[in-house]
Amino acid sequence: MTAQQIIFLFVALFTLISAVMVVTTRNLVHAALWLVSTLFGVAVVYALLNANFIAVVQVVVYIGAIAILFIFAVMLTRRDMRDTGPQMNKNWWAGALVAALTFAGLVSLLQEWSGFSKTASDFPSGFDAMGLLGEALVSPDAYVLPFEVASVLLLAALVGAVYVAFNPRSGDSQK
């Protein structure tokens, strides 16, 4: 085993234990904090894959924005969190069965694929992944249209979230 494999196994174990804690912890604030540690583990996986930009975006967008948004939502709905009642619905065993079957199906599908255990070749000398990524995102020959559509989607989500969460009663009382 090389050092990189040992690091990968350690990070993968950390990520998976955190993910199991996310779906099993009773307290939702703790679940959101376990989500933060899962996302950190995934960011380290990106760094192991030499995707530096994606690793930084993972920390900034996922941990900095999405996880904090979750913690805000948990706190805004705190009164009805029901830490004492059952956290799983009564068909949780069927969910576990479906999840296990999904995993088994994915692994059995992947094992038939010829490229399953291939190893990565080293980067060519002078390879600049981030420059290529930036060019691919704004080049008309590549991905500029999906990039712009994603920004329109974000704008639509922003307006939609404000409209949905807006409380008309509190707006009236301020008039």
């Binding site: 990520t15 894959l49 995707a51 999405i66 190893t119 990565a120 939609g160 949905v164």
Partner: protein, 102 residues
Amino acid sequence: MVPLSWYLILAALLFSIGLFGVLARRNIIAILLGVELMLNAVNINLVSFWRYSDVFSMGGQVFSIIVFAVAAAEVSVGLALVISVYRRRNTVIADEVDMLKW
């Protein structure tokens, strides 16, 4: 060097854990946490396929960035819906939001 299969199995495990969370939890916010885990598993797959095939075609990384944007949009609208439902029905349990059920 780590073979590709390790990354794919890690992503499959993460996806299954997220799927279990989506199917089994009662709280709507916990269901959204499970969706986040599934999206992260997909992103690991995309980035590892980029790394282990032609590194000059950036499709994998570009697609994972678009998944980031979609995840941000999904979470903002989803949590706004949760807060709106909580305000009107005073609940965050998915089973109790059954106005459309006959």
